[in-house]
């Protein structure tokens, strides 16, 4: 039972991270129907910015808590900036192009960003400082769920609640929902669609950066390639829940996290990534619209 609980919580931790990144995919897809292939790279860049800022601040001798806060803030700001720039350069000029073009451009951007980070920060694994504070909560369970797991789960849950409130109640959130439903109509009633799309990229990227810093400090090392696998998995999560649907992304992330955790725990740890991909293939074959998604209406 203890082993089961341990796997359950490690699945929950992974799942929360996947869900955080998946939200970015889902929001972007919901609005412009584009798989932002470079989203995983934004997550990776967020982690790297966190590392650099933490390193610089440590060398200046700042206290641990302020390092944590400032590194995470910087990661979020930079990821948002990268997301914004990405959209401007690689996607905006292709708004009216055939569907294949922005996808290929996204793949190109992803390769570019990976190599940009690799060339400027080496391809080695770099050790990431432990930013999250160690604390003992519920001593009895500390072997099943560590403090950083707890922190990840709470932060992820908090961020998601804030996001859903934002989308539900703010002006920008309403504009985003309107644009997702029908871009032309939204434009007609005076929504600044360009602004909405930029905002979507900014928000999605910042969520990814939160995930990036949390997981990097949890695992303790990063390299330029982490974005690729994380991106694919988060995408799997988004598809699993139904791409375009925000609760779907969360659900998909959690399901994927648990699947991976239990499969590696009970079946084999060699094939960790295979399970995620196999799940993706199976879901797409049997339910291409995902668990909570609506089947797309093809307009002729």
């Amino acid at each position: 039972m203890d082993y089961f609980l341990e796997l359950f919580f490690s699945g929950l931790t992974r799942g929360s991270i996947y869900a955080l990144i998946a939200l970015g995919y889902t929001m972007v897809y919901g609005i412009i129907e584009l798989i932002n292939f470079a989203h995983g790279e934004v997550y990776m860049i967020g982690a790297f910015v966190g590392l650099t800022v933490a390193g610089v601040l440590t060398s200046f001798g700042f206290p641990a808590t302020s390092i944590m806060v400032m590194a995470s803030m910087a990661a979020v700001v930079y990821a948002a900036a990268y997301g914004y720039t990405l959209e401007k350069i690689a996607y905006r000029p292709l708004r009216s192009a055939p569907r294949l073009s922005p996808l290929i451009s996204a793949i190109g951007m992803s390769i570019f960003l990976q190599n940009y980070v690799m060339l400027s920060q080496t391809s080695d694994f770099l050790s990431f400082p432990k930013l999250t504070p160690e604390f003992d909560f519920l001593e009895k369970y500390s072997s099943t769920i560590g403090s950083s797991d707890f922190l990840i789960i709470t932060v992820a849950a908090f961020v998601m609640i804030v996001l859903s409130l934002f989308i539900k109640f703010t002006r920008m959130g309403k504009a985003m929902r309107a644009t997702a439903q029908n871009r032309k109509m939204a434009m007609l009633v005076g929504v600044n669609v360009d602004q909405v799309i930029s905002a979507t990229f900014v928000i999605g990227s910042s969520l990814a950066a939160v995930g990036g810093v949390l997981i990097a400090s949890h695992i303790g090392q990063i390299n330029f390639f982490i974005g690729f696998i994380a991106g694919i998995k988060a995408f799997t999560a988004a598809v699993l829940g139904g791409i375009g649907s925000i609760p779907g992304a969360v659900l998909g992330g959690l399901i994927l996290g648990w699947t991976e955790s239990f499969c590696t725990g009970y079946v084999s740890s060699d094939y960790e990534d295979v399970f995620a991909f196999a799940l993706l293939v199976i879901i797409l074959i049997f339910r291409p619209s995902g668990l909570l998604g609506k089947a797309p209406v093809q307009k002729v």
Partner: protein
């Protein structure tokens, strides 16, 4: 003045962006922070000028779009007009052929070796061109079929001692089979989903090859794969490389012939119709399932075939040769060359594979340049280096001719 201010802002923005990644390196082993602010400055200066170019190009592109819209037809560049005229085309072709035949005599073995890899990519590009360029199915796991071919030869040779000539058709067949296996379940998916599933499929194949240690020797790969011999001829390293070269040359010509035929055949037309509009195409009575499966399996056949040759050429394979990046390279060959255009794909392969070899100094930046080119090509020249020119019939001319005949 307006432009100057804009460019200044852009360059400041990019300096801000690259500051933590390029400008600072935290060496956690030595515990020192290395500042490299001069690089940030270089980026700022470069982006300042590049932003002028960027704006100029965007404006030019928009103007071009307008011209297209007004005249109602696509602009065809002068050099593709020249290329299509027979008095220029045939001598050029003959010249290239003679050069290709004499290549091993003229250049060193090192060059021949590079040329063989370039030719391998030409065939791979042409194979993927069937799937992506003609049928419009974005396949990001193409390298999996390549791996299937390579591993089928390596493993059959390892366990049963099968020789190259038997493995060649078997590899192609296995590739086709895998193409159908993958194609069948994913036919219902649309563009982006399809891309992701194929990507997942490619990764699954690679991970299985990596982890199934007992069978595939895992990450350490399979060594000592014999090079092909031809009735005991062409033994020795230099001879066998020359033989390999000619073999590839024949295969490339064969591929060009087949793909060209396919493109203008009934099935090729069906692919292109499917790419343009799936629903209209079905309404015209084209069997979607059959057509898509054909595209998948035919594309995969070439990959399997070349996979066998690749294994024989390097005589060592491991899963690291079959990563997603490899798929991306092949895809960028197709995209950069011009989707659907055979000449374009050949040029794309030669440029993308040969240039980094000759510009050794830049080889580190190879993938960086790849990525950037993919984006830039999509933004400014979505049709690639050479636009696919379709065979057209001018209806007015036909009517006129008919009318004259009737009179």
């Amino acid at each position: 003045m307006e432009g100057f201010k804009k460019s200044l802002l852009v360059s400041l923005w990019f300096m801000f962006l690259v500051l933590p990644i390029m400008g600072v390196f935290v060496d956690s082993v030595e515990d020192v922070v290395i500042w490299r602010l001069e690089r940030v400055l270089y980026v700022g200066i470069c982006t300042f000028f590049l932003s002028y170019v960027w704006r100029f190009m965007i404006r030019k592109k928009e103007a071009g779009n307008k011209v297209d819209e007004e005249s109602g037809e696509e602009q065809i560049s002068t050099y593709s007009k020249i290329l299509s005229s027979p008095s220029f085309y045939y001598p050029l072709l003959a010249g290239i052929l003679i050069f290709a035949l004499l290549f091993p005599k003229l250049f060193s073995m090192y060059q021949v070796n590079i040329m063989i890899s370039a030719l391998i990519y030409v065939v791979l590009g042409l194979g993927l061109n069937i799937v992506v360029g003609l049928a419009g199915l974005l396949d990001l796991g193409y390298v999996a079929f390549y791996a299937v071919g390579a591993y089928s030869y390596a493993l059959m040779n390892l366990y049963w001692g099968v020789n190259f000539w038997v493995a060649l058709p078997v590899g192609a067949l296995l590739g086709a089979l895998c193409g159908i296996l993958l194609g069948f379940p994913v036919l219902r998916l649309r563009g982006d989903y399809l891309a992701i599933v194929t990507l997942g499929f490619g990764e699954i194949i690679r991970l299985v090859l990596e982890n199934w240690g007992d069978f595939t020797h895992g990450p350490s790969g399979i060594a000592n794969i014999p090079r092909p011999d031809f009735f005991g001829l062409f033994t020795g390293l230099s001879n066998s490389i020359h033989f390999m070269y000619y073999l590839m040359l024949v295969l490339v010509m064969f591929t060009i012939f087949i793909v060209n035929r396919l493109k203008n055949s009934r099935i090729g037309r069906a692919w292109q119709a499917l790419r343009e509009d799936e629903i209209a195409c079905q309404a015209m009575g084209i069997d979607k399932v059959k057509t898509k499966l054909m595209a998948f399996s035919l594309g995969a056949t070439w990959a399997g075939l070349v996979g066998v040759i690749f294994a024989a050429k390097t005589s060592f394979i491991n899963p690291a040769s079959f990563t997603f990046l490899e798929s991306a390279i092949i895809l960028s060959i197709v995209v950069l060359g011009g989707m659907g255009s055979i000449l374009g794909v050949i040029l794309g392969a030669l440029v993308l594979i040969l240039l980094p070899e000759y510009l050794r100094a830049f080889s580190e930046y190879r993938m960086l340049i790849f990525g950037a080119t993919m984006v830039l090509v999509m933004v400014f020249r979505p049709q690639g280096l050479i636009r696919d020119v379709r065979r057209k019939i001018d209806i007015n001319a036909v009517k006129k001719a008919l009318g004259e005949a009737n009179e």
